[in-house]
Amino acid sequence: MEQRDDLDEIRRAVRALCEEFPGEYWRAKDRERAYPGEFVDALTRAGFLAALIPEEFGGSGLMLDAAAVIMEEIQAAGCNGASAHAQMYIMNTLLRYGSAEQKARYLPGIASGELRLQAFGVSEPTSGTDTLSLKTRAVRDGDHYVVNGQKIWTSRAEHSDLLLLLARTTPREEVEKRTEGLSIFLVDMREAIGNGLTIKPIRTLMNHSTTEVFFDDLRIPASALVGEEGKGFRYILSGMNAERILIAAECVGDAKWFIEKATGYASDRQVFGRPIGQNQGIQFPIARCYARMRAAELMVHHAAQVYDAGGNPGAEANMAKLLASEASWEAADMCVQTFGGFGFAEEYDVERKFREARLYTVAPISTNLILSYLAEHVLGLPRSY
């Protein structure tokens, strides 16, 4: 019960902050494909992005369920948390596997927002979900590693000081186990840009600040290695569950926004002398979206609880992401349909949120890969790939 009250207080505080960033703010950013720096600064100053960092490093040391509530409220208020959510969870890998020295050096700055760690270089043009086939190499050279290769879909790289990089340190044919040979590095991009690191923005369907990152003989100190060399793939897997649960919570927030918008519009909009929401043809899709959103919400909470209890939430995190991303996309489509022509007009924010919501059945993992996971690891069906 006490925990519940906490979460309500967090919800109210996030809402109050988000009210300072209304639709006009996001429309202007969207039009210019500009980074919502003021919004991210406000979230940082209020400490929300440091929710998961332990108190000893300057964060609030909260559980994932509280962090999920923060992300959900941001989306439900009509804002776009994708501009900032990674600052919350990328540090998890550093927290779990970094040395005491690395944690002391970086975490307090990440907690205060002075250091932005919100870029994660994993995907490559020739290896998306097939992470083990990535080609970016880091070769040890004395006190340094020399990095060569390319990453793609590295979001917010232009707005981050540090980059968590997954690169191959042992050639694939030389490793004993196929999951070995990849390593995690914490790259200080402030020193690297222009010295072997190049970032190129990619314009996309929505305002998402994603980029390509090129490494050309980039020298990074050996101390940038996180944990043991060759164990990087295992390290990132545990971080992915937190990411999926938080993004699922964002989808629940988006679904709530679409449902609230559609309900409001359907109640007010008069056609043939009565509100369109009086027609079951309008009501039922909204009601169905509501039921699906609630089901997804329950799975997100359940996944967060499993995570917080220290269990392996692999199945729950994946199902939460699957159900929530589908619930938000269905609600997005329903909302456009309810608004009719006005759903396409920028000033109602529906078309912008519609474009933003489309991302999450694709990223950070596509629906098909989640289904494969469930089929193979939960139901015991034969591996399909």
Binding site: E2, D5, D6, D8, E9, I10, R12, A13, A16, L17, E19, E20, R45, A46, G47, F48, A50, A51, S60, L62, I70
Partner: protein, 248 residues
């Protein structure tokens, strides 16, 4: 110096209120409730005075149902030091609130009581003035700027056509206007700290106050729906219409 800040739980300012079908009041079922915006300004001003060293403790008080605890938690999360809930499910009119606040002020001896000029639900704009009268202390209402110096407080007041500056000797009552400050939002670390701050629960009877209403609400109506306007071709037609309506 202590500062006492009364806060009220009201219907959120973004919510479009709906009148109950029987016309007895506004429907509050499943409606978002928040801290009265003028009270947020009062909390902010008290916190700023504490941060400047003019005050040592900020005490938030609310008179209302158990749910008003949420409002007090928000005040604590903004930075108030402790809170008192005077719990009652009855509707409490400004005079009874003022009497309860006087009893609390007698016990706590604050140097300043900073209130919102009015609550956005009933727009009474009475509690601060009544409290000043009951306590026999000076009041600076509709504050636009508050400066504490020694044993006095200077208040710039928003009045028709400008600003009036008054100097009051402490202890005093101040009510806030919209432009006094921009309230901060609660930060996550402060929300977590607020959990361990003291929140006492009392009842009106503890202060010997009878909250029985003196007023009776006869009827609550929705405002009339705005009628569509008409287009006029030129100024002459406009003046003609205004004359016909008896306006000009």
């Amino acid at each position: 110096m202590k500062i006492l800040v009364p806060v009220k739980r009201v219907i959120d300012y973004n919510v479009k209120p709906r009148v109950k079908a029987d016309g007895t009041g506004v429907d509050l079922a499943n409606v978002k409730m928040s801290m009265n915006p003028f009270d947020e300004i009062a909390v902010e001003e008290a916190l700023r005075l504490r941060e400047k060293g003019a005050a040592t403790e900020v005490i938030a008080v609310s008179v209302g149902p158990a749910k008003a605890t949420e409002t007090l938690r928000t005040a604590l999360a903004m930075g108030a030091d402790r809170a008192i809930l005077v719990q009652t499910d009855d509707e409490v009119e400004p005079l009874a609130v003022a009497k309860i606040l006087k009893a609390i002020a007698d016990a706590e001896a604050p140097g300043l009581v900073i209130l919102g000029k009015q609550a956005i639900d009933d727009d009474s704009n009475q509690t601060g003035q009544m409290l000043a009268a009951l306590m026999g202390r000076p009041q600076g209402t509709f504050a636009n700027e508050v400066t504490v110096e020694g044993d006095s407080v200077t208040v710039k007041r928003e009045i028709d056509g400008g600003l009036e500056t008054v100097k009051l000797s402490l202890p005093a009552i101040v009510t806030t206007d919209l432009r006094l400050n921009e309230p901060r939002y609660a930060s996550l670390p402060n929300i977590m700290k607020a959990k361990s701050k003291p929140l006492d629960t009392k009842s009106p009877a503890d202060y010997g106050v009878d909250t029985a209403p003196r007023l009776k609400t006869v009827k609550v109506n929705e405002p009339p729906v705005r009628q569509a306007g008409i287009k006029v071709a030129d100024v002459d037609e406009l003046v003609g219409k205004l004359k016909a309506l008896g306006i000009a």
